[in-house]
């Protein structure tokens, strides 16, 4: 140990002694010292390019030693140049490695960004799907409501139509019935009076002074019975009349008997007894003056009054 130290000291003194004055460094060495110092101070270079940095410092040390040894300027400058280039190499390597690390970090960033993007897209797609689904639901509901409204309207329309048809049919049948009624009454030369429809059965029905209906008059009575059966709710009043020939009391009885004869005939033809009432008015209420045989024939009659409604026929006052 002591020996090495002693040898070093001896060497130094020998070298220093060889060159009495310390030689001034060439510009290349000054430059190289600056560059190497810069590299040494850079933590990135120390961390990322330690081997390259060591080469530079070693070479610079050699250049310094060459200077100390008084070697030729060209030799010192060449070594200094190499040291400077090696320091620059170390810095470039550190830069490159730093970039590589940053690239790895950025690639991670990019992957994160892509993942975020995919998440975002997925969320967006999901929300769009949700919206579309909601819209579809609303549309379906609206469609169902519209359908319901439509079917309701249709039902109402068809109900109304049915009612209309029924009403029309009723109207038609009522019209038909009324037309039929009028036709039948017209056939019997019926007259419309305030008490109801009046059908006059002339004296042709009866032999003079008798109350039996002549067989020839059966047709007219059948027609009347058929008419009455078509309208089972109408009550009827059968009124008998005579001319002024003969005693008043007799005529009164005769007119009642004739009305009853018609009543009996209609009863025989199926007209309910409950609907029918009879009355004899004798010589009263003539339709013509009893001054001629024609007029007297007109007064000898049986009038059948058919009620306009369900109410019984009002009697003459």
């Amino acid at each position: 140990m002591n020996r090495t130290l002693a040898t070093g000291a001896l060497m130094s003194s020998l070298l220093l002694g060889a060159c009495a004055t310390a030689p001034s460094p060439p510009p290349a060495l000054v430059d190289a010292r600056g560059v190497v110092l810069g590299a040494e101070k850079d933590p990135a270079v120390n961390a990322l390019a330690p081997m390259e940095l060591k080469k530079a410092t070693d070479t610079l040390a050699r250049a310094n030693m060459l200077l100390a040894q008084g070697e030729p300027q060209a030799e010192i400058s060449s070594a200094a140049y190499v040291a400077g280039q090696q320091a620059r190499t170390a810095m470039a390597i550190a830069q490159a490695k730093g970039n590589d690390t940053a690239i790895a970090g950025s690639e991670a960033d990019r992957e994160r960004a892509r993942a975020d993007m995919r998440t975002l897209e997925a969320q967006r797609a999901r929300s769009q799907a949700d919206m579309a689904r909601a819209q579809t639901g609303v549309a379906r509901e609206q469609a169902a409501q519209a359908e319901q409204r439509a079917s309701g309207a249709e039902q109402r329309a068809s109900g109304a139509e049915q009612q209309a048809a029924v009403a029309l049919a009723q109207a038609g049948s009522a019209q038909m019935q009324s037309a039929e009624l009028q036709q039948r009454l017209a056939d019997m030369q019926a007259q419309k009076t305030e008490r109801g429809m009046l059908v006059t059965l002339g004296d042709v029905l009866f032999e003079s002074g008798r109350a039996d209906v002549k067989p020839a008059a059966q047709g007219a009575l059948l027609k009347l019975a058929g008419f009455l059966q078509q309208y089972p709710n109408r009550s009827i009043l059968i009124e008998g009349y005579t001319d002024d020939v003969g005693a008043t009391a007799y005529n009164q009885g005769l007119s009642r008997r004739r009305a009853e004869a018609v009543d009996a005939a209609l009863l025989g033809m199926g007209v309910s007894a409950q609907r029918m009432a009879t009355v004899g008015y004798g010589e009263e209420y003539p339709v013509a003056s009893n001054t001629s045989s024609t007029n007297r024939a007109m007064n000898r009659r049986v009038e059948v009054i058919i009620a306009d409604s369900d109410q019984p026929v009002r009697a003459r006052r």
Binding site: T7, Q69, S78, I93, Q95, R110
Partner: protein, 125 residues
Amino acid sequence: MTQLHFKSGRLWRLAPLAAAAVLLGACASTPPPMAQIAVGKAAVERASGSAAAEAPVELAAAREKMARANEAFAAKEYTLARQLAEQAEADATLAEAQSRSVRSSRALGEVREGVRQLRDEMTRK
């Protein structure tokens, strides 16, 4: 202690080297720098493959120095040949490192731009 011993050992070994240098200087005859020429040539060739685009100035300097080293070698100016070969090697190695640095800077820029575009796209959407 070991460190000190090592340093001292190196210093110790420098003694005969210094002596040799003195002797060689005295002799004025230098051995041909075969190793340095070979190392410089290999470094320039390696850099030519990778650094041509990104570090053309350094690569050109390396080639020019290597050519001059060969000329000096041919002229038996071995000291100059060694110095030029060493410088050519340093230039070529620097060219290679700079090329690597430039390429990685460019790649980093591209990656960062990609990330930026992605983020932009996200905020725009």
